[in-house]
Amino acid sequence: MDTISVHLDNFTGPLDLLLHLIRKNEVEITDIPIAEITAQYLAVIDAMQTLNLDVAGEFLLMAATLLHIKSRMLLPQIVEDGGEEEEEDDPRAELVRRLLEYQKYRDAAVRLDDLPQLNRDLYARSAPAPEVVEEGEGEFAAVGLYDLLQALQQLLKERPAPLVHEVSAEQLSVSDRINQILAALHGQQSLAFTELFTAQVSRHEVVVTFLAMLELVRLKLVRLLQSQRFGAIWLTPAVADAAGVDTGFDEEASGYV
């Protein structure tokens, strides 16, 4: 199932992932080929585990549900002992109902986001809740784990492991790299994720840089932001010094103010 591994998106939950698989396979939601979808679903979960990602319990629960449905569908539906009133429902019915219900709200969420939003699309003279904008940009636009890992995998793919094992005494340490990143970020509004990994950097340095970046995020010194899903990842200083923030953008946009 190597076709699946490319699809480690940031799914909001098992229902989201299932809807994605159903859509991708172009099958009717009311007539899900359960064996096929289950296999693909498990392949995605496998891929996540191969990456040592913690697969949330909900995803595993859904895997169990799918397997249960699959097994029920494999069983011959012979009802013995005059149980004809006990009409066998489609084992998929409950799942389909949940998927459709979820889809309804997933769609509603998209359309809610399409509404002109205060402090995003329109502004009032004095914003009633300015903190919505400031805080929101931190938590809400934060880069997801899968996007981040996808970016790391891409970087490592571009740098195959050297065939010869090389022993070197002096190698870049994570703390050195942290300081370098902080220095590069100093006075900057943001730094592109890719800028940290210039082409000549070795695999070792990629890993060190990645760890340094995660450490900075953990220490809340840096935030990782993304303006859209699968978009470019940006590092921004978490503690914005008033002078540094946005100056580049502002100059570009409007010159002297």
Binding site: V96, L100, E101, Y105, D113, P116, V132
Partner: protein, 190 residues
Amino acid sequence: MSDLKPVVEALLFGADGPLRCERLAEVLEVERSVVIEALRALEADYAAQPRGIFLQEVAGGYQLRTRPEFADYLRRLGRTRPFRFSRPALETLAIVAYRQPITRAEIEYLRGVDSGSVLKTLLDKHLVRILGKKDVPGKPAIYGTTREFLELFGLADLAALPTLKEFSELAEGDDLDESAAVLPEVSVGD
């Protein structure tokens, strides 16, 4: 009441949030209907002329807001990045908006995923609030949206939410119809 229009405009400009017409009527010492008339006239004025602002009915009141087409410039002015909700946050917010009053367990059943932290974030941002306790064992909290939610999305009230789209793929699915036909209860007003 054309003489009332400029003063209503001044009040709307000076207010730090949406103004209810009751409040305007109280301040101006006139009938509510007169205020509404002035508001309508003002609304029409803004719509008819090439202006940067317009009058929006929001969260039970009225507020002057900039036109969406100038959002880019305002972001430059305010030095803010375009703000985006995460998908989990939007999903949760949509479910609370359409299904309120709703418990956390009900939200999680609909989403198929733990929603505690997302819900907490929405509570922190005052977009969602606890309406009370549900009278079932465990007395779980029930959630609903706030006035700030209406202000953020420019909704006059909850009835102004976009109509939920029922998915038609389902119409062929015989016995599944009934579950999908259940419309959420949307209570108007806080």
